[in-house]
């Protein structure tokens, strides 16, 4: 019997599904709230009972990332690894790594001040899609269709003045059907996929915003692309998002680190949380 530790900061149905599947497989689980856990520079692995492997499942990206760094400091095996989380949590780092690995991805422009972003948009032309480099669930993602929209966005960013808002990530608008594809990979293997369709015919297709999930058959092209993207990021348990570009075929626009799967788990043929637990335990046995 093994022991799996699931680190959370908000216990969602995904974490409970993981706990249940671990138990069904005959393993012990430990649910650990990152918010009430303390680590210091003298901490030792033996000070904690975190089982054989940790699945980091915090909903807060920075909390999860920093918690992961402390686990790795203690030589406690954790999924995903710090480097994977660090890259996937930042859209700019992730996009650059996709491109570096020759994975088709939308053309993306990076500017490091609002003036420079405006100058680039004047040069490239509207529309482009602006995305915050940190954040999920479609927050702050919107098409910039004209100069007025850009000026309004810049004004808001200057008021909020988050350090990451000084980085402008602007992406080409892809001509595609009103949906995207989410492929879940576990250990570089695609296990399930779904189409995410905009719930109101709008631009965004995030499930968190009410998009309808629909089971998607994994084609060879999807599989190849998902495997390449997973390997490029460093592996682990990932959610690879793709769009169907009318001209180029599939393009990968995002790789998610702490993948949410409750919608897909309801319709997938394979047992996603069970495979995650099995992968995690095999990961430490290797």
């Amino acid at each position: 019997m093994s022991k799996v530790c699931i680190v959370f900061d908000r216990l969602r149905s995904e974490e409970k599904m993981l706990q249940k599947e671990a138990s069904n497989l005959g393993h012990d689980t430990l649910m650990l709230d990152a918010k009430i856990t303390q680590v210091n520079t003298d901490s030792k692995k033996e000070d904690f009972d975190l089982g054989d492997v940790v699945l980091e499942r915090c909903v807060s990206y920075f909390r999860g990332l920093h918690f992961t760094s402390s686990l790795e400091f203690l030589d406690i095996p954790v999924l995903n690894k710090f480097e994977v989380a660090n890259i996937c949590g930042n859209k700019m780092f992730m996009t650059l790594l996709l491109k570096k690995n020759n994975i088709p991805t939308p053309k993306t422009y990076f500017s490091f001040s609002s003036d420079s972003a405006a100058e680039n948009l004047d040069k490239v032309g509207y529309p482009l899609v602006i995305k915050p480099i940190i954040g999920s669930w479609g927050r702050g993602v919107m098409p910039v269709k004209d100069k007025d929209t850009l000026e309004a966005l810049v004004e808001v960013r200057e008021i909020t003045d988050s350090p990451h808002d000084r980085i402008y990530y602007l992406q080409e608008m892809i001509d595609r059907p009103p949906r995207d594809i989410r492929v879940i990979t576990i250990g570089d293997e695609p296990v399930a996929a779904m189409y995410r369709k905009s719930s109101d015919g709008g631009f965004k297709t995030n499930i968190a915003l009410g998009a309808d999930p629909e089971l998607c058959e994994i084609t060879k092209e999807m599989e190849d692309l998902a495997v390449k993207a997973s390997k490029a990021m460093g592996g682990g348990i990932l959610g690879i998002d793709m769009m169907e570009d009318d001209k180029r075929g599939l393009v990968v626009h995002e790789v998610n680190n702490t993948v949410e799967f409750k919608g897909l788990a309801r319709v997938a043929q394979r047992n996603i949380p069970k495979e995650m637990i099995e992968f995690a335990l095999n990961y430490v046995r290797k």
Binding site: D9, Y61, I134
Partner: protein, 55 residues
Amino acid sequence: MNCPECDATLNIPDDASVGEIVSCPDCGADFEISKKDGSNVELKQAETVGEDWGE
């Protein structure tokens, strides 16, 4: 138990776990289960959605 915010009745399932979020059906406030010992449940204000929340 009652909502700490508006005093409405909160329905907390028997199988709810520490760390889970309970929403008040009347005022919509979210609370996190901070302690649970049988039917004794302690709540604390849930964190609000952060800029870095998500996948």
